[in-house]
């Protein structure tokens, strides 16, 4: 269901997404450092975690119904 163009996400949802993106930045930096040090074993796990976080953000962005006031 596509949300109404006038609907707004709540500040809580926006804050959660910002936290998730910060976690993604930290995760990517950590993974890149590990790969540059020759440790590739954590890549599958890191990819799985990153994919789950991206799925959560996509769900919030596309599917979460409006929780906030209507303008």
């Amino acid at each position: 269901m596509t949300p109404s163009p006038k609907s707004q996400l709540s500040m809580a949802a926006l804050g959660l997404v910002l936290v998730v993106v910060l976690v993604q930045v930290y995760l990517f930096e950590t993974v890149l450092s590990a790969v540059l040090d020759g440790q590739r074993g954590l890549l599958p796990g890191a990819f799985a975690v990153s994919a789950v976080l991206t799925g959560l953000v996509l769900w919030i962005a596309l599917k979460l119904p409006s929780l906030d006031r209507k303008p």
């Binding site: 707004q8 996400l9 997404v17 540059l36 991206t54 962005a61």
Partner: protein, 173 residues
Amino acid sequence: MPHWKKAFPLDLAEEAHFGRREFVRFLAVVSAGFTAGIGYLAIRKRPLEGAPDQAHKNLGPLRICETGDVSPGNSRLFTYRDEQDRCILVRTTNGELRAYRQTCTHLGCSVRWDGRRLECPCHQGFFEIERGFPVQGPPTRPLSALRVEEKAGGIWITGELPKPTVAVEENQS
């Protein structure tokens, strides 16, 4: 209405058109980009520049030069894995041999031997010669080291060394 809006009553046409949901969608694209980046690292076979290659750690011995070609306190450049894999061989003043990849762990410039330490000239980063740890400047990770041996009258590179994980104290004297 916040105070700054009262002080500066600017009416931006785009202001009303960018809501939280649009911003969250933008962040979702950013998040997907990070996931794609990790996926790319996972499926990429060739190691990143300057990174050790565990898949080819038994590449085989490679003769660099004659034993007498590198005198104490001097260095010699060579390539190991391929033509882009630039490395540096150093014989310390103690007569010990050390070999590292030349790629600085900060931004990838080539390090050089200054007679006491390995120096990255781009941002004045320095690495100690014993294990390749950064001791000064912006680099935070050690250089990628190679195993070096002297045998049969020559200097040989015999494989990759795992990256050390504990820094040693720099000898200040």
